[in-house]
Amino acid sequence: MKRRFAEITITPSSFSKEEFKNMLNTASFLGFKVVGFNIHVKNFKNIPEVKNYAEKLGLELVSRVDVTFSDIGLIKKYLKKYRKKVELISIKGFSRKIISFGCRDRRIDIIRVDPHYKFTLFKGDVKQILEQDKAIEITAKPLIYAKNFQERVRTLQSYEKTLKTILKKRIKFVFGSGACSPAEMRDARSLASLLVSFFDMDYAKALDSLSCNVMSIVERNRLKLSPNFIWPGVYLLEEEKYEGKI
């Protein structure tokens, strides 16, 4: 079966309809089939309605929200508000406390790696990520658009360390461009090549991070959001009216 590539790491800098349309056009040009915008909860209400336009281009839109705050109470408040509304919830792992919380809380699907902050995964974190089928996200933007070579080296070191743990422990991971504008987006196979050439990764695994890994999380959450979902493992298959007497 042909792979359906997904780009869920786009982080728009402006919230105009034109900018979103340009990004969708570029995603279609680059051969993506699924697109998701990574938007912070504070800006979530400013997103323009572009679902119809995406459908016209043959793209599937995924709703995603980022709940990064330094206060855990605030994160919990927004998780409660958005978990039953959006398909993906992510958090940026910028401190030990937040990484630990992100791994522990079942409502969070993706933990983002920012090379500007120290990212460490402990034994317990790995166990919880595997149990809850979460994913770690890394992006190509800090590598491609590094200001100087020191910054690029630091990013490579950080990613190498994280990917080593991910591959060793068989954790799911998501890769993307992390683009803020259409010019920063890259096609899926080039991004996979980047992983292969820098981190000696298997090409199939790199492609999985841009297709299967994303889709499995999205499909699982869509099922949870559907009215047929009752409890993990219990689903309503068919609704039938019973007219007889019990």
Partner: protein, 112 residues
Amino acid sequence: MREKFRYIVFISKSLPEDKDDFYKIIVSTLVELFGLRSLAFSRLTLVDYIPGRGGVIKVRREAIHIARTALAFYKNNKTPIRVIKIAGTLRKAKSILRSYPCDENAKNKGDK
């Protein structure tokens, strides 16, 4: 043993007018990222180039990922480069480049 090459067909609307300018950027990116040894062993050459459309890069089969990474690191302010096909012969690569509709909303018919 005989060396084997592949031809990377890429398209982008915003490429420099001069072929040498583009080649220099790609080569310097490759050297910056992977070093002189990788550049020498990859045997990278730009065999075909159409400014408003795209081009074809000839590279050793073992260095495809390196060349693709160098293309991914090419920065411009308009549209990114998209690799549409990795062909086995130059004739095929050239025909794909010339026949591909250079429209942003075109169907992704060149995908591997």
